[in-house]
Symmetry: C2
Subunit: 217 residues, 2 copies
């Protein structure tokens, strides 16, 4: 499949690498198509990797991963233009408030009674936003089995059932097991999964090594 | 030990019952000492159970459980007066915004950059607030082993190490295992554990039966 990955940070490159490894064609999107990080990334692969602007990547991809930092996500998707229309946006971004001192908090307008996932869905009503992979270390996103043989939970939510099913298929391909993917319903579920960052950082401070969260029932 | 349990809801009576069962003397506190729910509760026990006003209960207890609904917690503790001074307050309350329509959200001033746990600590600086037991079904608070033999996580946080250690001892007595109690550091950790409610309700909607969250590492 042709997939756009917007963002050149740890999450974006981790996901792009995995998708290329699985045989997908990936275009990394960034502000400019001369982005050094993107070019450096692309050069590591013999085939199936390319880079472009947000707009070029969005036009290329059948599915678009939003791996942009939360505060810039809406802007990046706006600059992707019509390329994202009618497409699935897999949103793994967290709306961290970088203008506020530690301890880390969320952008006030995008938490509690709203979320980045919902905001993207509202701002781009012709897309199908699916929130997932946003509650774990980036290494675990694409290699869940490296922790406890994959026995931890990946949440998913979104308004469109068909879109969620497509994303679930992709998650299975990536290495997630059916029974560890928990569907939380519509995109409002993002409020819960994005807010986990507040707990996540505390767990990170209290434990050693990679960890994740599992729903036990 | 003499323990005050403020609040006559499911959480309060569940905890009070367990403490009485363990041989502690418990006074249930409510707005008035003629509170019907409190009297009905006390009458179920042959000994070690009594009821009184918030102030009477706080004066009685060496440790005070705050099991008041989040929006009324500060007010209830204020009416407890000097009785709570220098005592450990085990805060299990969640600051749910009851003035906002569904989906459930937190009181805006008590989330993201603040929390009820912190607010209580700020408002009552001579107490030692320990936040715990606030991320699970009330039945699991006092009977953790009924789910997966207790293999799920109970978070704890607070500014005073000695107070946290006392609360941990009480948690062990209640039935929690040492390895399932995760210390998240100071009371600011409440931001994370209180915000879990947003995710918790979604998990509740997506699963069948009792569940809890486990940190896997």
């Amino acid at each position: 499949m042709k997939i756009a990955v917007l963002g050149t940070g740890a999450a974006g490159t981790t996901i792009a690498s995995k998708l290329i490894e699985l045989g997908h064609q990936v275009m990394i999107g960034s502000r400019s198509n001369t982005n050094e990080k993107a070019i450096e990334f692309v050069n590591k692969f013999e085939k199936n990797a390319s880079n472009g602007t947000f707009e070029e990547a969005a036009n290329f991809g059948e599915i678009v991963f939003n791996c942009i930092k939360g505060e810039f996500a809406i802007e990046a998707l706006q600059s992707a233009g019509k390329g994202i229309e009618n497409k699935i946006i897999i949103d793994i971004s967290i709306p961290v408030n970088t203008h506020k001192e530690a301890p880390l908090s969320l952008i006030p307008e995008l938490c509690n009674t709203n979320s980045l996932g919902e905001e993207i869905q509202k701002k781009f009503p012709n897309t199908k936003v699916v929130k997932t992979l946003n509650t774990m270390w980036s290494t675990l996103m694409t290699s869940p089995s490296t922790l406890k043989n994959g026995d931890h939970t990946n949440f998913i939510c979104g308004n469109d059932e068909e879109a969620k099913n497509k994303v679930k298929s992709l998650l299975l391909e990536i290495g997630w097991k059916e029974e560890t993917i928990l569907d939380l319903g519509d995109i409002v579920g993002s409020r819960g999964t994005e807010a986990i960052i507040l707990l996540w950082l505390r767990i990170w401070g209290a434990t050693i090594g990679t960890f994740s969260i599992k729903v036990v029932n």
